[in-house]
């Protein structure tokens, strides 16, 4: 139970002592020193029976009973023994020098739950922490409550209120199939089970409490309209849903009754009025089953229904005919008088619910309707008042709403504490003296602030109450160090103005001397107040501090906390508190609940522990306040992840390092991809090198035999051979030359496409001359007048090999395609360079290129004619190479007149080489 039992030790008379337990909610027994029951309280009688044997029917109880009671009586064990299986508590008491054993039991339902076979199995599936959580949920519920094991789709716990509401015993509920409580087709036309599933799923998905209206099927088949509230419990293992069922049939009945009554009345009245017959009216009014009164224009009673005098009794009893309505009811408010006046002028009015003070000055509610009646169909003879007293209904409804609110208040979250205080004197003091200065309440009426009836476990935590604190002796007001006056002021105003609840903020200093910030929500448990005040208390100290910390750590953290993809973990060493955001859960699979027993180190791979220690040390000493580093973690499911983490140290005002905020980005995928690419790159590089080596050797090995054959051909041609042989050999030589060039071109192409751009410093003058020199001995070269002009301004950096591939091709083309018919064959090479680029112009007066081919000359294997001397690869390589060097090539040509190639190369001066 969440309520602490007062431990009373001393020599009080047994009977006197026992009477203290009479109204205790827990079943309690007292055994004398020979183990016989000498007392049991009301709760035990109503739940178990009148003898000890009723209890011993539970196997689990009888198994341990003797063992515990013997231990208590043997005197070896002082104080309290607690049995974990049955939740029974055995306490040694000495009263009048006699030893007694007091046994506190859980409720019958809970004991059944704890000890029944299959249920025990189900329960044992849960972690004990979870079980405790579920039990406390049940214990605290003022309403029917079930706990659903969502994964296995069975109920694993239910309280006695659920028994009452559903007609099933707890055992039966636990054996129920999920659908058996469903209503089938609901009034709204929806399928009950589907509605429930929808809300249940949304609850589990969102982790938030979901409330919906439903109908629940009673064991006898009737459908009970109800409000269902589902909430996913913060259990360690499995998914458990707390389902509370609030019976709202009462609400519906009330509504229906009011509507029905009103309808009947309206039908009858209308008819009566329409008929305009006084006798009919009189008969209607007199026999009316509802309170109706017919009055003349002076507000004197003409006829009243029997119910009227019962509902609105006066000193004259039934003898009120002819008497004045206002004289009999001096409390009638002015607004009603105005309504009567309006009715006398022909305006009917009605109100479904109106609050007023009855003759005794108490709050009362009625539903009323006031309309005129006509003497002769034209003149208003007076009014008819229908007024049903609905005070009971309203109060019942209020009470129900109050229960609802109380319920919601209690169980909204596990973090809310509550205190119930009975303070009739306080309320009286305030009521008697409406002008009372609220400070007086705080200062002079401390004793009248009331007695604590009960409080829950959370309150004990917040206030640091000892386990044996007697509720009556707990005075919360004594702990308040800030906000007492404000709270008292609000309380005062609320009582005066009949406000049912209000909020306040206070600071308390608890028994440990800690200051706690509390948000207090105060309710008067019943409207009008029977003197009970309910304080809902939320400890917001940690919240405030973390907000402060976050604010101090600036916008960055807040945006990161909100961000969708970054996990954030906030650790506060001092308070042993760990907070995480949703993304963290997504990344690691751990929930905030999990994190209460884990910290970052537990998820980190062991090889990073040293690093983390170092970081913590650096933060502590202030060497570093922020660190961004890659770490590897293990997820809840065991999968490894790589994460980029950024940790910031948090310091309090005195500079003490009290915690960290770590932002975690899962970069596993990126990292894996990176590694893969790097590996592939290395492989590719290796393959490239091998290929380069291969192409080089292949070219060499291919060329060597060609060179041999060419040499031999040349030698043969020197010999004296026939002219025909000479001709054949010349053709052979040409073919070999072409083959040789082809091989060279392929090597050039292969190297251009694969190798990185080298950054060589080039002396353009030397470079061009070197290229040209290679062709000086070509066929007909002696006829060609070559003119080279180079204008180099500053350094020129480019890839020497590639540049020479381009120049070689252009020059060899000019030589190959020179027009030998012309007398003045020329080749003009103009080169200029600056810091940005080099421009090379190669102009000849060779055979030229026909316009139609001009566009295509840079295509692979394109040859202008079948007897073209080229391989069709040269200019393609030129274009590819120029592109690689980030240059441009243009050609202009006139067939028969000559060709000009203009090439620009980027100057790589100032461009850093990529290679290390």
């Amino acid at each position: 139970m969440s309520l602490y039992q007062p431990t009373i030790v001393g020599s009080t008379a047994v009977s006197q002592y026992c009477s203290l337990f009479d109204s205790n909610q827990n079943p309690i027994l007292l055994l004398d020193s020979i183990g016989e029951m000498v007392y049991c309280n009301q709760s035990f009688i109503s739940q178990f029976g009148e003898t000890k044997e009723d209890l011993l029917e539970f196997n689990d109880v009888s198994k341990v009973w003797d063992q515990y009671t013997t231990s208590i009586f043997d005197g070896e064990k002082e104080g309290v023994l607690y049995d974990e299986v049955t939740s029974m508590e055995f306490r040694r008491l000495v009263l009048n020098d006699e030893v007694f054993c007091m046994v506190s039991l859980p409720t019958h339902a809970k004991l059944t739950l704890l000890t029944s076979g299959t249920k025990t199995n189900q329960i044992s599936r849960m972690a004990s922490a979870d079980q405790e959580l579920i039990n406390s949920v049940l214990d605290n519920a003022p309403d029917a409550m079930l706990v659903l094991d969502y994964d296995n789709q069975v109920y694993v716990a239910a309280n006695d209120r659920a028994e009452q509401l559903l007609g099933y015993s707890v055992e039966e509920i636990l054996d129920l199939k999920l659908g058996e409580l469903s209503p089938g087709l609901m009034k709204s036309g929806e399928i009950g089970a589907e509605v429930a599933t929808k809300y249940l799923d949304s609850c589990i998905k969102s982790g938030k409490r979901v409330i919906f209206e439903w109908q629940v099927r009673h064991k006898n088949g009737t459908l009970i309209p109800c409000e269902i509230s589902v909430f996913k419990l913060p259990t360690q293992n499995g998914t458990y849903v707390r389902t509370s069922i609030l019976d709202i049939s009462f609400r519906e009945d009330l509504e229906k009754r009011i509507q029905q009554t009103r309808k009947e009345y309206e039908e009858n009245v209308d008819e009566a009025i329409k008929s305009q017959r006084e006798d009919q009216l009189r008969a209607f009014v007199r026999d009316s089953p509802i309170p109706v009164a017919m009055l003349d224009s002076n507000m004197n009673y003409l006829f009243v229904a029997r119910d009227w005098v019962e509902t609105f009794p006066t000193e004259f009893g039934e003898d009120i005919i002819g008497r004045n309505h206002y004289e009999l009811n001096p409390h009638i408010p002015m607004r009603w008088k105005l309504v009567h006046k309006a009715a006398l002028k022909g305006n009917a009015q009605g109100m479904k619910r109106d609050k007023y003070k009855d003759r005794d000055g108490k709050d009362a509610w009625c539903q009323w309707d006031v309309r005129p009646w006509y003497l002769d169909g034209k003149h208003i003879g007076g009014i008819i008042i229908y007024a049903q007293n609905i005070t009971e209904d309203v109060e019942a409804e209020n009470k129900m709403l109050e229960q609802e609110r109380k319920f919601k208040h209690f169980f909204n979250s596990d973090s809310i504490g509550w205190i119930e205080i009975k303070a009739p004197q306080l309320l009286d003091v305030i009521r008697q003296d409406p002008d009372l200065d609220f400070r007086k309440i705080a200062e002079f009426h401390k004793s009248q602030l009331g007695t604590v009836l009960r409080y829950n476990r959370k309150i004990a935590d917040i206030f640091g109450l000892p386990i044996d604190q007697v509720p009556e002796e707990f005075e919360p007001i004594r702990y308040v160090v800030e906000g007492r006056e404000e709270l008292a002021g609000k309380l005062f105003a609320a009582v005066r103005d009949n406000i049912e609840s209000f909020d306040g903020e206070i600071v308390i200093e608890n028994k440990y001397g800690e200051l706690r910030n509390l948000n207090v929500n105060v309710h008067f448990t019943l409207a009008g107040g029977s003197g009970e005040i309910l304080y809902g208390v939320q400890d917001v100290t940690d919240l405030k501090e973390s907000v402060k910390a976050l604010r101090e750590s600036e916008e960055r953290y807040r945006t990161m906390f909100d961000s969708n993809s970054l996990g954030v973990i906030y650790t506060n060493y001092g308070q042993g508190m760990v907070k995480i955001n949703e993304s963290f859960t997504e990344i690691f699979g751990y929930t905030e609940g999990d994190m209460q027993t884990l910290d970052e180190n537990d998820m980190l791979l062991p090889e990073y522990h040293d690093l983390n220690r170092q970081i913590t040390e650096d933060f502590r000493t202030g060497v570093k306040r922020y660190i961004s580093v890659e770490k590897e973690y293990k997820r809840k499911d065991g999968r490894k992840i790589i994460a980029q983490t950024s940790s910031s140290a948090l310091y309090d005002d005195s500079g003490l390092h009290y915690g960290n905020v770590t932002i975690i980005e899962d970069i596993t995928e990126r990292k894996t991809a990176e590694l893969k690419i790097r590996k592939q790159n290395e492989e590719l590089k290796k393959i490239n090198q091998e290929l380069d080596q291969f192409v080089y050797s292949a070219a060499h090995d291919l060329r060597a035999p060609i060179a041999n054959v060419m040499g031999l051909v040349k030698l043969i041609r020197i010999e004296e051979i026939s002219e025909t042989a000479q001709h054949y050999l010349a053709l052979q030589e040409k073919s070999l030359a072409k083959l040789d060039e082809f091989i060279k071109s392929i090597v050039d192409y292969s190297r251009n496409s694969r190798l990185d751009i080298a950054k060589d410093e080039i002396n353009l003058d030397e470079f061009v001359n070197e290229v040209v020199d290679q062709y000086r001995f070509s066929e007909n070269a002696e006829k060609l007048k070559i003119d080279i002009q180079v204008d180099q301004k500053g350094k020129f950096i480019s890839d020497n090999n590639r540049l020479s591939v381009v120049m070689n091709n252009l020059v060899s083309n000019a030589v190959r395609y020179m027009d030998v018919e012309k007398d003045d064959c020329f080749l003009n090479i103009r080169v200029s360079s600056d810091k940005d680029m080099a421009k090379v112009q190669v102009e000849d007066n060779g055979i030229g290129i026909e316009q139609e081919h001009l566009e295509s000359i840079f295509q692979l294997f394109y040859r202008a004619s079948s007897n073209s001397k080229g391989t069709g690869i040269g200019l393609y390589i030129v274009k590819e190479t120029v592109d690689k060097l980030k240059g441009k090539i243009d050609v202009s040509s006139e067939y028969g007149k000559g060709t000009t190639f203009t090439v620009t190369f980027k100057n790589f001066l100032g461009v850093k080489s990529k290679k290390k």
Partner: protein, 121 residues
């Protein structure tokens, strides 16, 4: 005397013929291995010129040049190779005694130019 160092017999045959076509003043001695050429040089024979191939089994052209340089031999060397790799050309330039790099085949015109340069004709 001109030395030809090439493991390819046919090359040696062709190049011997080409040299004789340009000038009859210079007898040619052809070696099919670099070691043999080194031995002959060590024995004191002094050619006017050496044509050296690069790709050869066992001792290749570069190995030959390394030993040649260690011994500070004074004779000019021309590389004569079917390699079209620029790296080879660049590398050859790092040897002081290498005066040129000829891409096979060795033609009469080129040879004439070289012999003129070397004042051998």
């Amino acid at each position: 005397m001109i030395f030809l160092i090439d493991d390819d017999d046919i090359q040696n045959l062709i190049n011997t013929k080409v040299i004789s076509l340009v000038s009859d003043q210079h007898p040619v001695k052809a070696f099919t291995s670099a070691e043999m050429a080194l031995e002959t040089l060590s024995a004191g024979e002094q050619p006017k010129l050496i044509f050296l191939d690069i790709n050869m089994p066992k001792m290749n052209g570069w190995d030959f040049l390394d030993v040649y340089h260690e011994r500070n031999l004074p004779i000019d060397v021309y590389m004569l190779s079917s390699s079209i790799n620029n790296k080879d050309i660049e590398k050859s330039k790092t040897y002081e005694s290498v005066k040129g790099f000829i891409c096979k085949p060795l033609v009469v015109e080129k040879l004439t130019e070289i012999l003129k340069e070397e004042n051998l004709i």
